[in-house]
């Protein structure tokens, strides 16, 4: 855990209610794909947990959706504004767990952390296939970025306005990608639907209302096959065999 002040260098709408925020800080720590940060928002008591979309030397990219007062306040912030962040929170994805071909499955704003995950897997020489689900064409994000990283990207939209009509589960059944390990991040219904369709060799990034984000309050505990676990501290990424779904 590291506490640090960052400066907003960009805060741009990239889809309806979805923003890309770039933050810079000297000697900003390198963050692992799948970790999250806790952002102090003036006027809000609790910080806001946001997944790391891309961590680069001195720079941090967040992609977030406006879901309430806190994220609405973030969306209104101008470049130059300073924000205090807790960084390096959570375990992040297990890059080393992937022996060969990687499959990424993401839905909605849950695709955000797949950006860095894809970058790091590619840097490790892993072939990457990505199946991304959205409600409609206007909500599609990150496809270009993942393709630019050399990933084979397939999109599904619930209303069929782009790519495969339907959900990520439909994309999975139509594309039938070859993979040795997989990573899932998206809304709970999507993850629950994918769970029975996928083998043991994979992991899921979970989300829940958090208090502290640092493991202190036990506000985000879930039952696992190995007992209670805090999403913020023991997750947010859990191997499939830990999930008693």
């Amino acid at each position: 855990m590291d506490k640090k002040r960052y400066t907003i260098s960009a805060n741009i709408p990239i889809a309806p209610q979805v923003y890309r925020m770039e933050l810079t800080a000297e000697a900003a720590p390198q963050l692992r794909a799948g970790q999250f940060v806790e952002v102090a928002v003036p006027g809000q008591f609790l910080r806001r947990p946001l997944s790391v979309s891309l961590s680069e030397p001195g720079r941090l990219t967040l992609r977030y959706k406006v879901v309430g007062g806190g994220t609405a306040a973030l969306a209104a912030m101008q470049p130059g504004t300073e924000l205090e962040l807790l960084t390096g929170l959570g375990n992040g994805f297990d890059i080393d767990a992937c022996p060969g071909r990687a499959l990424l499955l993401g839905g909605g704003i849950g695709v955000a952390p797949l950006h860095q995950l894809c970058r790091d897997l590619r840097a490790a020489g892993r072939p990457v296939t990505a199946l991304l689900g959205f409600n409609t064409a206007s909500e599609i994000i990150l496809c270009d970025e993942l393709r630019a990283l050399g990933a084979d990207v397939h999109v599904a939209t619930a209303d069929g306005s782009a790519g495969i009509r339907g959900f990520v589960t439909d994309a999975l059944q139509q594309v039938t990608p070859k993979f040795d390990y997989y990573y899932v991040c998206g809304p709970m219904p999507m993850m629950r639907a994918l769970y029975p369709l996928l083998p043991d060799c994979g992991e899921y990034s979970l989300e829940e209302r958090m208090g502290c984000g640092t493991g202190l309050c036990f506000g985000c505990t879930i039952p696992t096959t190995d007992g209670p676990r805090r999403i913020c501290h023991d997750g947010p990424v859990f191997k499939k065999n830990l999930l008693p779904w």
Partner: protein, 303 residues
């Protein structure tokens, strides 16, 4: 001259009055990776019950102006795990006095837990929580009736010769008879206040935010209520008070002590800023100088 921040709690010397409150600091392991736990005055460990508990389903957290609701529901590994496994591990990390926080659903459960905590060399102080709002039997009900509070205190007192503090709920019309009942039954001190029951509603989904419907409200919003309760109890009782409720600055530590607290627990502030306790501790000497306080103990109940 150097500011003296030390205080004495149930015969135990604390290097400063700042104690992370039970339930906002886990068992100390997470923060041990961030700072030296020896900097803390003491550590109130996560609330523990006779049997292990998973607690309530999620969502367990709801944000509010100036604080949050929590309905964790006493998730804990049980008293046996605390005394045999956890306490020794925490002791290996620091020499800081450790406070075991005990909850129960029957008088005898409190008693058995206190006996086990009493037998645990690493536990320095026992804090009996008769004020948890997030369990559907026992818990807070013991803290809203002087007779029930007395019964729990009596049983706990029988169980241990260690410093015994009773943690009280603000959810009462008059704290004095309850505080006096605990004192009369031999409690060495009182901790107040625990959280106030509250509720938030998700107006889009048209249902409570918390799976448990209600939760305990804590945070800076509670501070003036806590100061009032601490002052009432400190005025009515001779035993020391640990003030708890909304404290997040060194000035508020001093205000709580002027109200009558001998030590101060910092709770929700840890959840917003995990470095809250060391930050407050570092700020204390400068604030003391500003206010012409040489010895922090001199201001206890000074108003």
């Amino acid at each position: 001259m150097v500011s003296d921040t030390s205080v004495t709690l149930g015969g135990i010397r604390l290097k400063n009055p700042v104690i992370p409150a039970s339930g906002t600091f886990g068992f100390g392991f997470e923060m041990a990776a961030c700072y030296d736990l020896n900097r803390l005055g003491a550590i109130a460990l996560k609330g523990t019950t006779l049997e292990p508990r998973f607690g309530n389903p999620t969502p367990r957290i709801a944000e509010c102006t100036g604080g949050l609701l929590n309905a964790v529901g006493l998730q804990n590994p049980g008293i046996d795990a605390l005394v045999s496994d956890i306490a020794p591990k925490v002791r290996a990390l620091c020499d800081t006095p450790l406070i075991a926080n005990i909850s129960g659903f029957a008088v005898d459960e409190y008693g058995i837990c206190c006996e086990k905590a009493d037998a645990c060399a690493e536990i320095d102080i026992i804090e009996v929580n008769i004020s948890c709002p997030n369990v559907h039997q026992g818990g807070m009900t013991f803290g809203t009736d002087p007779a029930a509070a007395a019964a729990v205190t009596r049983r706990a007192r029988k169980a241990t010769s260690k410093p015994l503090f009773i943690k009280l709920t603000p959810n009462v019309s008059d704290i004095v008879p309850i505080a006096k009942a605990c004192e009369d039954e031999g409690a060495d001190g009182l901790t107040l206040i625990n959280t106030l029951p509250g509720m938030r509603i998700d107006i889009r989904r048209r249902k409570p935010v918390l799976a448990n419907r209600t939760g305990g409200f804590s945070g800076p919003a509670l501070f003036p209520i806590a100061v009032r309760f601490v002052n009432q109890a400190a005025t009515a009782c001779r035993i020391p008070i640990i003030g708890c409720g909304g404290v997040s600055t060194a000035e508020e530590v001093i205000e709580m002590m002027m109200a009558g607290a001998t030590a101060v627990q910092v709770g929700s502030a840890n959840l917003r800023d995990p470095l809250a306790c060391p930050t407050i501790i570092d700020a204390l000497p400068a604030v003391m100088k500003q206010l012409n306080i040489d010895k922090l103990e001199d201001i206890i109940g000074i108003i």
